[in-house]
């Protein structure tokens, strides 16, 4: 029904659902495929619902790379060709982190259920990111078997970069093991698990000044978790940063990179994150 893109252009079309997947695919496939990451720049791809025209694009793609782990909630609300879907974390289920702090409810004959799920920013753990990239390589080889050697060589180079990133993060976080940390949003679960961080999360947005009630909640949390650093997805507003400084809490910006950065690429962004962590935690 939906004419596959390859049939029209001769080049396979690969759709990705977040920027890390886009970056990994670009590194592995180069210009052998036409790569599309259709989420608008101003939305979080995890909270996104594609427009009809974009869904049609997905339907015509030769390969649709999903992050999985519950990242693309919208996928269960749209019609996509099952044979084109590749869940890059399908083989990592045992390493998923469940979110338990959520309300359950029930109605009808189907019993209790919850809308909580799995932490999905898997790529923040470079070792999981490597496995996702490996799944992408395998999917690309199935799509273009004649390019297997090239894809494998390119993947190997990416894997080396990810190992180096892992090492630098290990050093950065390892400079103060067990240091109490806060996170503005619960998105760092895999980072926490990988580097054994002592991290507690809030639900604060960088572009909003928290309400007084939220500051009170922070004060209660600081009593339990005497953190001197708070990890943010993006630079918080100056007012927020100032009030944190008053409490002796410094800001560390750690951008998860679900969207492309204004400059550089995903790896550069992660290296900058690592450098910021190193600069903050490495200080005496």
């Amino acid at each position: 029904m939906a004419e596959q893109a390859t049939e029209r252009t001769g080049v396979p079309v690969v759709f990705t659902t977040n920027y890390p997947l886009f970056y990994f695919t670009e590194r592995i496939a180069g210009d052998r495929v036409k790569l599309v990451f259709p989420a608008p720049a101003d939305v979080d791809p995890a909270e996104w619902m594609p427009e009809d025209a974009i869904i049609r694009g997905f339907q015509e793609a030769d390969l649709i790379l999903l992050n999985g782990a519950g990242y693309e909630a919208w996928v269960e609300r749209v019609s996509l060709p099952a044979t084109a879907l590749v869940d890059t974390t399908a083989g990592l289920r045992e390493r998923f982190i469940e979110i338990t702090e959520a309300v359950t409810h029930s109605h009808g004959p189907h019993g209790l259920h919850t809308h909580a799920g799995t932490a999905f920013t898997t790529w923040l753990d470079p070792r999981l990111a490597t496995e996702q990239a490996r799944a992408i390589r395998d999917a690309l080889i199935r799509l273009l078997p004649e390019q297997a050697e090239d894809f494998t060589a390119r993947f190997d180079r990416l894997a080396v970069d990810l190992v180096a990133l892992d090492t630098s993060l290990e050093e950065a976080f390892g400079s103060r093991p067990g240091e109490p940390l806060l996170a503005s949003h619960p998105v760092y679960q895999y980072l926490e698990a990988r580097y054994a961080l002592n991290l507690r999360s809030l639900h604060w947005e960088p572009d909003e000044v928290p309400e007084e009630e939220e500051w009170a909640e922070l004060d209660r949390l600081l009593a339990e978790q005497p953190a001197r650093f708070m990890v943010w997805e993006d630079e918080p507003l100056a007012e927020t940063a100032d009030r944190l400084t008053e409490r002796g809490v410094a800001v560390i910006t750690y951008n998860p990179g679900a969207q492309p950065p204004e400059e550089g690429d995903w790896l550069a962004l992660m290296r900058e994150n690592a450098a910021r962590v190193q600069a903050a935690l490495g200080r005496p």
Binding site: M1, A2, D52, V78, V103, H105, H107
Partner: protein, 392 residues
Amino acid sequence: MLRLFPLVRAYLRFHWGKTVILAICLATALYVPLAAHGLVRLLQQEMTQRAEATPLVIGAQGSRFDLVLHALYFRTEAPGQVRQAERFALEETGRGAVYPLHVRHRARGFPVVGTTLEYFAFRGLGVEAGTAPLRLGDAVIGWEVARSLELRPGDRLPTDPTTVFELGGAYPLDLRITGILERARSPDDRAVFVDLRTAWVIDGIGHGHDDLEAADAAEGLIARDDRHRVAGAALTMATRITSENIAAFHFHGDPADFPLTAVVVAPTDARERALLLGRYLDGDGAYQALRPPEVIGELLGLVVRLKRFFDLHHLFLLGVTVLFIGLVMLLSLRLRAGEIRTMVLLGCARGTIFRLTAAELVLLLAVSAVVAVSAATLTAFVAKTWIQTLVG
């Protein structure tokens, strides 16, 4: 003898009443077996074609005929459900393409077929107008459905409610028509295709409802504590999926447990087909694997046996008709005794009179045969589309 035909033709035309009655009797006696033969052959042809285009059907244990007719024609109820885990297991084997089917609901009397986008390519179905289903609540309708219900892309089509006497049953869902399929001259023309997940929404496994944390949902809540909310029937359930409420739609339970009614499998080759069939050789299992050409062949065997009985019946009727026409001819000859005597007195040989009578019969038979064959051909032509849509 040929020179006698103008005379015979003039006679038959003059006695047109008798000629028409005799021709109708003879033509009917010839038409019925001819038409029946044509229709049965067409039925065999179309059913075999659809069955051969459907290599394997997996479904619950039970009537083999029900399962195959369900998977091919969406007509009968499936003998039972297939857990989606079975579909995943089949896909995992990599032995062929897997097309899940969920056919439990109807919309304005037409079957609602839940499946994946790959089904359309498998059946060679193209879109005449609009697009394939894009999101939950979308449907692409068969050519015949569009024509019968006068629907176009953008229109709405509600599913038939099942909750009239079953308060806990499925709510009707207002489907958004995104496309109309090209005419396929098959049962797909009379189906409403939706994504599998939309079928599960109609089942009630997936749904959208008020935010249970919102104040206006309070009256829908029966009980709540810090971590649990129990909602009652007063909770407002969405019966139309829109851009505004689609994010509220969610599914309950493990997708592996979600129900299908059949799974069509197209194995990559004969070896894989044998291996797939081997998976289900143990008759004690919950599922069976059927080869539609075999099952349809059996079914058609019954039809052919029935047809043989009717063939004998038709032969008997034909014999009676011939006797009846013979009687009419004899009586006619008696009525024409004076006419024949005059012909003899005018010098006409008795052989010529016999040839005249024979020519009359031959002409009558020829006209009747032409009428019968034409009518049978016309019947087959008219019935072809109907049979194709029904079983093709």
